[in-house]
């Protein structure tokens, strides 16, 4: 498998070419710094993203509260995590940093509130 990865570590945006199979990298080129190399390796083996969305809140002036995954979750789990967030049925008050879903979709990552609804 080969992948062209655009590095997002800095504005330079190097295109890094990675080859490999089943989580091992056989060839990597096009990076211009160690941080870029590490980024491309992670992107190739197990890409992760911070997920943000909103959840419904009852008994509050605001209809929604903003939420996030505390740390990044695997990219291929984003839509599964969205389904779980959609099921949330919160009642105010919700404080910034409150844990709303523990270990979402078995990722080991919590969904927390980033907004505040009092």
């Amino acid at each position: 498998m080969t992948k062209e990865i655009i590095c997002t570590v800095c504005p330079t945006g190097c295109t890094i070419h990675v080859e490999g199979e089943n989580g091992t990298i056989t060839k990597i080129e096009g990076f211009s710094c160690p941080r870029g190399k590490l980024y491309a390796e992670n992107e190739f083996i197990s890409p992760v993203r911070i997920l943000t969305s909103t959840a419904k809140v009852k008994n509050a002036k605001s209809l929604l509260v903003a939420v996030r995954s505390r740390t990044p979750v695997p990219k291929d789990k984003l839509f599964d995590c969205m389904d779980e967030i959609r099921k949330l049925d919160l009642t105010a008050p919700v404080k910034r940093g409150d844990v709303l879903i523990k270990d979402v979709c078995g990722t080991g990552v919590d969904i927390i509130a980033t907004g505040e609804v009092l």
Partner: protein, 412 residues
């Protein structure tokens, strides 16, 4: 009329206003008042639920609500006063007139004023897209507000015009909420927003980015039924033989932002025709010496971290001015050299200090050297692998005894 007196009055409680108010307080202004039109502080960051904020300032990746939340906490601790649900009607050299449903018309007298009104999105009318006028044409920011604050989904099949950051972020947001984004269409031959957003918002979800394309027609009676897109030539003129129709129910526009300066204009403050914001010196002081300005009302930023840094300067300077410690002196005008569209601040008062010059290039360029010169004297020189109009650049220079300043970007 209801009357209020304060040392520093800040117009706008978004990221710029919050940072400026906190800094004014930290620099000795006793009575600092933020006047805000919305029912809460935070400005546009209330709807910017995505991550990517604070990488420079806090060295961590925060969402919009987390970012402004930190400033609100500090502002409260320091005792910054706020007047919410209040629309400012007029700004004078030392007065701010606003209207509020509880007190009616209020007149605020301040020793210094900070303008932090932010910016507005360009609309369909600004870019004059032909076609019918159905429902379903939104600016990206309006759609963002509806989805993220008001729980209203705006459409199911979407085309986005403009590759600005908000447009790309909305492409991801709508996809996560179950919509199908057919394409992001950009008239320029390069991306308008940050590369990071192209990767994480478009490429991640297989959303096509069509550079050198634009929307040439909107069809539909009650609701958008389709848009027609076409490639453009080097003069941005559509090549009609390339036109094709994309079925959709929604068109989002991410076609640029304009600083919101009705109040500034009416106050008679000098405006820079390129940034469309007030001209400022390194203290973020406008042509009226008691009025300061910061954030997107001055020039549209791509990172809120830069807004906060600039607003901190405005707050500190306004506090000094209110205390009678910032005296007006002659300034040199900052000149824009090769491939530089604008520089902010536009003027610098020579002083024994370092000044950050923020600037944008006119066109993308690779392998360049950025210089700041005072006549023959090179004050700053840095090589860059590439520069892009979508990413603001910075040069920090000592401005002691300068007689001129010019920023240039040339081939290395």
């Amino acid at each position: 009329m209801y009357k209020i007196e304060c040392d520093v009055c800040v117009v706008g409680g978004g990221p710029a206003g919050l940072a400026a108010a906190v800094s004014a307080k930290q620099n000795g202004a006793e009575n600092v008042l933020i006047v805000e039109r919305d029912e809460a502080l935070g400005g546009i960051l209330q709807q910017c639920i995505h991550p990517g904020f604070g990488l420079k300032l806090f060295n961590e990746e925060l969402t919009g609500p987390e970012y402004y939340g930190r400033f609100v906490i500090v502002a409260k601790e320091l005792g910054v006063n706020t007047l919410l649900n209040s629309m400012v009607l007029e700004v004078g050299a030392k007065t701010v007139t606003c209207i509020n449903s509880e007190y009616g018309v209020c007149e605020i007298t301040a020793k210094a004023i900070i303008l932090a009104m932010g910016c507005r999105e360009r609309t369909r009318a600004n870019i004059m897209i032909p076609g019918t006028r159905p429902a379903g044409v939104y600016t990206a920011g309006t759609a963002q507000r509806l989805i993220n604050r008001q729980n209203e989904m705006v459409g199911k099949k979407v085309v986005i015009l403009g590759s600005g950051d908000i447009g790309m972020i909305m492409a991801r947001r709508m996809t996560l909420e179950g919509a199908k984004v057919e394409a992001v269409v950009e008239i320029m031959d390069f991306l308008a927003g940050l590369t990071r957003n192209r990767v994480q918002c478009l490429d991640d979800f297989g959303i096509p980015l069509l550079l050198s394309h634009t929307v040439v027609n909107i069809k539909g009676n009650d609701r958008v039924e389709s848009v027609v897109i076409a490639e453009v030539d080097e003069n941005k003129k559509p090549i009609m033989s390339t036109a094709r129709e994309i079925e959709c129910d929604t068109l989002l526009l991410s076609v640029g932002l304009i600083p919101e300066n009705e109040l500034t204009n009416n106050a008679g403050i000098e405006i820079n025709p390129v940034t469309k914001g007030p001209k400022v010196n390194q203290y973020m002081q406008t042509s009226i010496e008691s009025v300061f300005a910061c954030g997107n009302v001055v020039h549209v930023n791509d990172l809120v971290d830069n807004v906060s840094a600039e607003s901190k300067k405005a707050g500190a300077a306004a506090a000094l001015y209110a205390a009678g410690k910032l005296k007006k002196k002659a300034a040199v005008t900052v000149e824009t050299g090769e491939n530089v569209r604008y520089v902010c601040p536009q003027a610098v008062i020579p002083a024994d200090e370092k000044v950050d010059l923020y600037f944008r290039v006119m066109k993308p360029q690779k392998g360049v050297v950025i210089t700041v010169t005072d006549g023959e004297n090179v004050l700053f020189s840095r090589k860059a692998i590439k520069v892009n109009p979508g990413e603001m650049e910075k040069a920090t220079v000592s401005v002691k005894n300068i007689s001129s300043l010019k920023v240039s970007v040339k081939e290395a």
